[in-house]
Amino acid sequence: MSGRDEHRGPQVVGYPNKGTLIRYGAAKPTVDARVLSGNERSPSGGRRAAVGGLLALLLTSVWLTCAATARGQADAERTLRVAIPKDYANLSVYTAGASDADPFVGLIYDTLFSTPYVETPRPLLALSAEQTTRQRTWLVKLRDGVTWHDGTPFTAKDVVFTFELYRDGPPNRWTHHASQTPNMRSVVALDDRTVQITCAQPCPTLADITLADLPILPEHVWSTVKDPATYDGSAIGTGPYRVLRRVPGERYELAANDRYFAGKPVADKLILSIIPEPSSAFLALRSGQVDAVSSPLPPQLVESFNAHREVDVVKATPFSDAELVFNMGRAPFDSAPLRRAVMLAIDKDALLETVLLGRGISGSEGWPHPRSPWTGENPKMPHDPTEARRLIAQAKLAGAEFEILVPQQDPVVARATELVVDDLRAVGLKPSIRAMDQPTISELTAKGEFDAYVWGATAHALADPTQLIQSFNAASYMGTYENKAVKKLLAAAQRVPTATEFRAVLSRTHELISADPPVVPFFYPEQRYGIRPASFDGWKGSPGLGVVHKYSLVAGPGAAATVATSAQSSDGRSPLAIVLVAGVAGVLAAWFIRRRRATRTKG
């Protein structure tokens, strides 16, 4: 305690809600009431407050303007900013993860042919691929003059190395398309530009599916990598964009590959910003902080984005679905009549209308994806609750209890499953729902410890027939399906020599599957993606890939769409907001200085 406080006379002070206290000590000198209330102003104090306020206003304006200007300067090159949902490690094929990474991995790496989800994939790194008269052998001619991002020429050795690595190396998502369906028995470089691939069995879809699916790796980089799954060096491909910089967890900065053989990249710089929370990504799109979002818009947001002045909505067929998968290895779904009854009981058209607001294709059009180039005229999967009740009664399974596992992170699928449960109760079954995260569902399904589960299958499962065959041969998923006729047809599909025969076998398989379904599709969403056309209006929906992929981001022949520079594109920061913030900061600073001065005067 300082000496100043120690000797004071009696003094009455207020003490809130405690009555008054009498203090003993030196009486304070009387001061003007205006001073005590803080209303007294001296000319110098007012000036200080005004100067302080102006200074704060000025500094805030300078800061915000500098920030905005710096951003504008950066955008002077044609830069596109895209929100992506997660960190795909170094964007290399072994660490980027599952097939959801395909569109982004595809910006860096190329395949021999373009996407497998179209009727006729066009050649990319390959010029042509021909099935020889021996039916199991293909001769692939490669494009000349292609270089990797580091300047090394691309040759047949890279193709041989890649397919052998996929086949014999550590398993990744492409392994079984080199080791099983199809089984590439040998891959030989006949010269620098020709590769001969020989399969264990006839492989009529090799060019259209396999060679369009497997990204090619540079041998000179990967041959020195001891463990591909832990390779964290730069991703070097032949693709239209090369990795300039990776900020872990935050963004990828890609630069245009000016030597790209298949067209000019539309942006000089492509920034892939990692925004895991979809709502945050859509807010960033709305405010112009990104030019596109790679994730589809939820159905309920489509109208609001359609009405937005600066945002357009682009349609794409993702080749995904929401489907109910049965455990056919145990009761009650080892019963084929019950599986068919469940299929008939579910009102798939109503699900589409209620859950997706009609945007998509009803599951009643059959399975797999009705718009896949490999799906013919699918027999329908109709809604017939009367027939469902009859089948259940006939199988003596009325009141059968079972549990449906649902991924908790997917509200659309969860909502659809709730409605499905109502349909199933209406025909006398007793289903229950259990929500859990996807890895838990995967473990339970791998062990066969489930009755049924709902999930969203991807293009790889729904539009790639080699993956379909693989799924039926697998330990889980379709592996417990015991329809002998289907199994026989799938085995035949791996022996037929021509694509036409392959399609015919597939078509018969689809018919049998519709009658005895191992899965019941609820719907196939037709997804919409939000983009800002002022920045770039050349976004194209590609089946199975959405809108953010290399086929959007490379100018094809006669393409007019270009990426706007900063002069045309908005930087997402409104001048009004800058003035507002500066104003508020100024007022606050002035208030603070006045208050501080008043307190000092009181003291």
Binding site: Y15, A98, S99, I271, S279
Partner: protein
């Protein structure tokens, strides 16, 4: 009479921390593995993982040493912790240490500044409340306001701030942590820090405020306060020079203990604002069942919290001479 040998309090404290760290190593190994699932779904995708044979599954997991029996994995982990090698992340393909060190600075910046700001806010509000105990605007309204904000889920508050400040007003960027596109680095970092910081600060102020207010009010009933008033010492001076000093012990304790909560809150806040800290790494690690990353991250967070408690222990002796004389925290 023979004197009992007295164990040194500092040595005892270190032994306690050593034991705790041992338990943390076990816990950080066991917890991620208690959750069902394995990293294969992330590594190759659901369809593809389902299509794998058991031999392929084992080969895929062997790349990360996850095919070995649990006791072998544990011994590897302990050996790695001792030698500073936390293994390789399944999710990122890089060493766990590299992944965590990339993320740690951002979390320390966010959590550190939020902790200090929350403490400053809580203390200021508690001082104001203690001075005007029972008064509407000065105390009860403040109490209600702070509790309301603190009770707001960080996810909701974060989205609200994001929608207004970033989407509607366009003031601040909605995602990221570092400057991009030629922006001044400091400006970029501050711009991106502002919203997550505000969210985390607001949602963690409440507990600190309650403890601080309670400690201050308790001290205000002490005789020395009455004596000081009787001497005519001004009320602000009593609060700042006498009451606050005596109330510091519980306040420091709650501040250090709250660090764990703040780190927990950071997981949600970092996800909402796409802030690339430890929180998002843990979230992504959980989704991918990335055991090496999860065990490394959990261990690191636990060590930070234990270190904060150790610092609090040390601070007690500086704050309160009685603790120093008693050789430890009074019980």
């Amino acid at each position: 009479m023979r004197r009992q040998p007295r164990r040194h309090p500092v040595g005892r404290r270190f032994a306690q921390y050593g034991l705790l760290l041992g338990l943390l190593v076990v816990g950080s190994f066991a917890l991620p593995r208690l959750a069902p699932g394995d990293p294969l779904t992330y590594l190759v995708g659901g369809n593809e993982a389902a299509a794998f044979t058991s031999e392929e599954r084992a080969r895929a997991l062997a790349q990360f040493g996850l095919d070995a029996p649990l006791h072998e994995q544990f011994l590897d982990y302990v050996g790695g912790v001792v030698s500073g090698d936390l293994g390789t992340s399944v999710r990122y393909g890089a060493t766990v240490s590299d992944v965590l060190l990339d993320r740690l600075p951002w979390t320390l910046l966010l959590v550190g500044v939020a902790g200090v700001l929350a403490a400053a806010l809580a203390l200021s509000a508690a001082l104001a409340g203690a001075r005007r105990r029972g008064a509407g605007a000065g105390d009860t309204d403040l109490l209600a306001g702070i509790l309301l904000l603190s009770a707001t889920p960080p996810f909701f508050l974060g989205m609200l701030i994001l929608a207004i400040v970033s989407a509607e007003l366009g003031l601040l960027p909605a995602y990221g942590a570092s400057a991009s596109g030629g922006q001044t680095p400091v400006v970029g970092v501050l711009e991106r820090l502002a919203m997550p910081l505000a969210t985390l600060t607001v949602t963690t102020t409440g507990v600190m405020y309650l403890i601080a207010r309670s400690a201050l009010l308790c001290e205000l009933t002490q005789g020395y306060v009455r004596f000081a008033r009787a001497k005519g010492v001004s009320e602000p001076r009593i609060l700042r020079r006498h009451v606050l000093r005596n109330a510091l012990l519980p306040i420091v304790t709650i501040f250090m203990v709250s660090l764990g909560d703040v780190l927990g809150g950071a997981v949600v806040v970092e996800t909402v604002f796409s802030y690339p800290g430890l929180g998002t790494a843990i979230y992504e690690g959980v989704l991918a069942r990335d055991y090496p990353l999860l065990q490394g991250a959990l261990l690191m967070v636990a060590v930070v919290v234990v270190a904060a408690n150790a610092i609090a222990d040390g601070l007690y002796t500086l704050i309160d001479p009685r603790v120093r004389r008693a050789g430890g925290v009074p019980r």
